[in-house]
Symmetry: none
Subunit: 215 residues, 4 copies
DNA sequence: GATGAATGAGTCTTCATTCAT
DNA sequence: AATGAATGAAGACTCATTCAT
């Protein structure tokens, strides 16, 4: 039983994704404003006109790139975190490491650079990012920490701030990968980012265990 | 004694700084490519033509903005760190907190956003940033940690990675201030960034004291 | 006897006419250059590609629209005028009124707007319009007037100019219908154009009867 | 006492008018949509960019062209009509002839073609034209006719329709001048349009004198 | 020095036309 | 025959940069 869809149809169906991939890559590399629509089309292997068949404007393409990549990867990661048992500290380390190693390894890591850069020019993106990415992500980590605090495993810290101690370096890793890292000028300690991720999580979890040192 | 400098002269001398300030503010807000040369001039209170009297091109202006702000603030902060005594952990907390609180409060905080964004389009900037900012900055923190390790105050961690655990959130704070934070959508835990800075440093230093938890 | 033409065949035969109608309507409404080929196809209920099966280019479509509509209606009207008897003045009034009322009521009225607009961009159209429409039309009226002058019914006017006094308002009526009239902003005196046509012809014929007033 | 305005200033002041003239000429000749912005600039002797210094878009330029030319010429003509004495018929002939001979001789004659064509794409233009041009113009002629009817000089006709019998050919003259006339294919009777204008007005006024012939 | 009018290379976007299905 | 995906030439508009005043 052969598929009846024509080559044409198959290509058409793949176009949006191909364009999104090309756009992500170039927007992350050169910035949104400095990327020409034609470059995106060329990288996706189509002509300028075809790009506009799928996205009505360069700005709409940007929105689609961000929405698509954020919903896909970020949400996916968050799903798995619900499962798993064990002490909060262990779970925190395992779960966050797995989650961000996957993000860091995927092209999605670039969206953070894009978001940081373009947020202020696109208010809808700001709201979307805050509500759909930042909030769910931090709440996930916060709930793990809160659990540890409740069970006495962790000291009585400010939970929201502690979650940021966990997460901010993860985001910075993504940014670094597409800035200094991409120029071959990255910090040598980040050449194997998984190692950094693990030590960082260990450091923070260990720090949480007995309450922060007094300043 | 001819200290009677004309108003014109005084304004002229101030021009480069005024232009750099205006440019920093706009480049950080809207991005380099999306900022018009004329907007920079207008914000600095001069005409388009005058801008070109001081900087031969928009790219040169960008380079000047970055160089100027990075050398000034970052280097300045680093200087003071050399002085001071006491246990490594205490010094680390005090010194890094003071240093980054000042950066975060100043317009210089924006340069990190600019650098992250434009690095890949301006190779000289990449090199300058890596050599003049990243390296000195990390080495400073690394030497404090190394000291603590040597004295037995800290566990035997990977020093470079530990320095990044200390510093990456500081940089993220700067980026956040000029992205989500500037939209009024920032994480509430960052409304008083000094509090976060202090808890974060305490957490990490505390984590260093006992050696990282096993993963 | 194979009168069993398939639906497809029937539709196919009707296509050229449907396309011409759609094109006329849109060209008159929005102008030739501002009308997209795809809009014409859509209004005719076919796809873009099909349009090009029948007309090799948008310009050819325009030519066909004009030729088709002008030859059809204008020529048809002119035919009937030859027949009929009675005084020149009466025939002039009756004949011109009938003729132009029919034109004004039909979509053909729009072609005058199209012709006025596009003449200078399409020299063949100009020649066609001058020779096939303007000349036969004016000569018809001229011959009626000339007859009246010869019989002493009319004063001795410049016949060509008098024919224009008769006809120019008729053409303007067509233009008005598709400009101000179509916006609902038309002169109220033209809400029943037949009334205007009749009074106008009466006025001119009456004016011809006594010879023009001295200026 | 020399003028202090610089050459630059003088050129700048003249630009809007020069651009308006160039635009009128090309829009009338080729149509709005078929005229390139750059052509207008070139005809005005400036570069593309300069055009946009004075008019924010091609559409705005069109609006300015129409408004400027209609307010200038049409209003001017209407002014003089108020003055003058004598029988209504004589005044009608003299006044309308003078008025339209001047319009026909000026580039303003082209605006009628432009208005007819673009009205439906630009609603504001439609309203402006109806209220500022059509209404004042027809009311002027209507009041002259009404005067003649009141004094018994004219028969008791429909005044609004009669005004159109007077005016529609004048407008057609303008359109003809910029369509067939401009191709050298115009009706020979219009080679001296003033002659036509005079006979037409005489014909209509004569027709008004004793009431229209019965149809 | 300072200005801002002028320029034109460069971009986004549209749309007539083609052609594989 | 009919479709509509794809193309790329063309056109509106922007903006970095220049230069006469």
């Amino acid at each position: 039983m052969k598929s009846i869809v024509s080559t044409r149809q198959r290509r058409k169906d793949a176009r949006p994704q191909e364009l999104l991939d090309a756009a992500l890559s170039l927007f992350v590399e050169k910035g949104f404003a400095a990327t020409k629509a034609e470059e995106v089309a060329a990288l996706a292997g189509v002509s300028k006109g075809t790009l506009y068949l799928y996205y009505p404007s360069k700005e709409d393409l940007l929105r689609a790139v961000i929405r698509h990549n954020l919903s896909t990867e970020i949400a996916a990661g968050a799903q798995e975190l619900a499962r798993m048992g064990g002490p909060a500290g262990d779970r925190l380390q395992r779960v966050v490491a797995d989650w961000w190693e996957r993000i860091l390894a995927s092209p999605t890591s670039g969206v953070f650079k894009l978001v940081i850069t373009e947020l202020r020019n696109f208010p809808e993106i700001a709201r979307f990012y805050a509500e759909e990415v930042v909030m769910p992500g931090t709440q996930l980590v916060e709930s793990l920490i809160r659990e540890g605090v409740a069970s006495g495993e962790f000291a009585d810290v400010n939970v929201q701030q502690a979650a940021l101690s966990v997460l901010l370096p993860m985001v910075m890793l993504c940014l670094h990968k597409h800035s200094l890292g991409a120029c071959g000028l990255g910090d040598p300690a980040l050449e194997q980012p998984e190692l950094f991720i693990r030590q960082h999580l260990a450091l923070v979890v260990n720090g949480l265990r007995r309450g922060p040192a007094r300043l």
